[in-house]
């Protein structure tokens, strides 16, 4: 009987805290959003289930949770803690990405730079709220709207905030179709939203082969901290474009990225234990994250309007919103908002240019922040 009572005391029912229940509910909300609304299902579903797993109370003395040395989850989390998974995901993204839209419209690349203002204004906001410069840098990168980059920089600058930053980044990425349209409409006139873009030119295979090498050299020489992210992104793209490594490209963009995504999503979710996750800092991070997405969107749109002051061939300012690097969601949002004004205006291909430029831009920002804040 004593044994039975002792066993009952070790069950999750006996040791469950209200915070764990709340986090399990949040995990269920993520899974529901992924299944019913299709919001970033490849990430929200593993993160959601990981959050449920991570919030089952563990037994003292048994290595079970992400934070218990020697546990299975601890080993899986190693790739997050050391920033290994994000560059591997970038390899797969590179092998999936077609940079043709960007290569055919070089001026749209600048919209990807303008949207990075979200990162730096959020950094200032985080400093204002009392975060350390390293924590502020890691929080600011949420504004890059790039989950792997956010996790990579958090692992380097503020490992104790990875869970909150990753969940905030992916949650807001999933909410891009909700966050962006009101800001885009607020900052543009109907006349501007109706601007049509010239059809993109045909890009030669040679350009597509040379581009990843040239872009990597430029980005890595200017911000060496971006070497791992941009290097893997461009390596993956070269595998795709070279035409001689189809098997490698195929693996990188399918099985490989899928495996890493499962490991990353699940272990990030499992790291959201209520005891470490439900803190006032996490709430501040969520608030700053929402702000950063809004600022990044506004920055891109306003910069497109600024460009129009000096150029003869006007840019549809909606394209600026695609400068946040949530690929391809923000490009889709541009298409949807533009299409709502004029059903014959197809902006998707054009929006992919600032969108992929935003991926490079946020990786450069992460590299820059890491360089200036490394001890």
């Amino acid at each position: 009987m004593d044994l039975f009572v002792e066993f009952i005391g070790t069950t999750g029912f006996a040791t469950m805290a209200w915070g764990n229940i709340l986090m399990i509910l949040i995990g269920l909300v993520f899974i529901t959003l992924a299944i019913t609304k299709h919001y970033e299902p490849l990430l929200l579903l593993p993160i959601g289930f990981g959050a449920i797993v991570g919030n089952i109370p563990t037994i003292p003395g048994m290595a079970l949770s992400v934070y218990d040395e020697g546990s299975v989850l601890h080993y899986l989390y190693f790739g997050v803690r050391q920033g290994i998974y994000p560059p591997l995901i970038f390899l797969g993204i590179g092998a999936m990405t077609d940079f043709s839209a960007m290569l055919s419209s070089p001026r749209l690349v600048l919209l990807g730079a303008a949207a990075q203002i979200g990162i730096f204004l959020t950094l200032i906001g985080a400093l204002y709220l009392g975060f350390t410069p390293e924590e502020a840098g890691a929080i600011g990168i949420i504004g890059g709207a790039d989950g792997p980059t956010a996790i990579f920089l958090s692992a380097k600058l503020a490992p104790h905030l990875i869970g909150a930053i990753a969940v905030a980044a992916y949650s807001y990425m999933a909410l891009v179709p909700v966050i962006q349209p009101p800001i885009m409409k607020l900052l543009t006139t109907r006349k501007e939203r109706l601007i049509r873009m010239p059809p993109p030119r045909q890009v030669s295979l040679r350009e597509r082969i040379v581009f990843p090498i040239a872009a990597f050299l430029i980005a890595a020489l200017i911000a060496p901290g971006s070497l791992a992210l941009v290097g893997m992104l461009m390596f993956g793209n070269l595998l795709k474009e070279s035409g001689v490594t189809d098997r490698l490209a195929e693996t990188a963009r399918h099985a490989f990225i899928d495996i890493v995504t499962i490991l990353l999503g699940f272990s990030v979710g499992a790291s959201t234990q209520a005891q470490t996750f439900l803190t006032p800092e996490s709430l501040s991070i969520f608030g700053l994250g929402a702000l950063s997405f809004a600022i990044a969107t506004a920055g891109g749109v306003l910069f497109a309007k600024f460009l129009n002051l000096f150029t003869k061939n006007k840019v549809n300012p909606l394209l600026g919103a695609a400068g946040v690097s949530a690929v391809p969601d923000s490009a889709r949002v541009v298409q949807v908002v533009g299409h709502a004004e004029d059903p014959h205006n197809h902006l998707l291909m054009h929006a992919m240019a600032p969108n992929v430029a935003g991926v490079i831009g946020s990786a450069i920002c992460a590299g820059m922040l890491w360089s200036v804040m490394v001890k």
Partner: protein, 90 residues
């Protein structure tokens, strides 16, 4: 509640404005350079056409197999079947 003065002092101490200005300058410099290289790439590549010709992508041929090939395949299949079933090929 955050004391505004303390918040602003945190920004000053953390060099927030300097990092923001430097960061935006660096990302604009890098992407502008990439943009310029992209714009010049077609011209640069046309100059070095001889050194770096446009790769020819091999397309699979969809011709029908000639009769000779089919005869060889049939003979090989018959030989294999015979060997497996212990009958000498005729």
């Amino acid at each position: 509640m955050i004391d505004p003065q303390a918040g602003i002092q945190n920004i000053v101490d953390g060099q927030g404005a300097a990092i923001a200005i430097a960061g935006m300058s660096i990302v604009f410099a890098a992407l502008t350079l990439i943009s310029v290289v992209i714009a010049l790439l077609p011209r640069i590549l046309s100059r070095i056409e001889g050194l770096f010709p446009e790769p020819v992508v091999a397309t699979p041929r969809s011709r029908a197999a000639p009769i000779e090939d089919l005869t060889t395949v049939a003979a090989a299949a018959a030989a294999y079947h015979a060997a497996r079933s212990g009958v000498a090929p005729g």
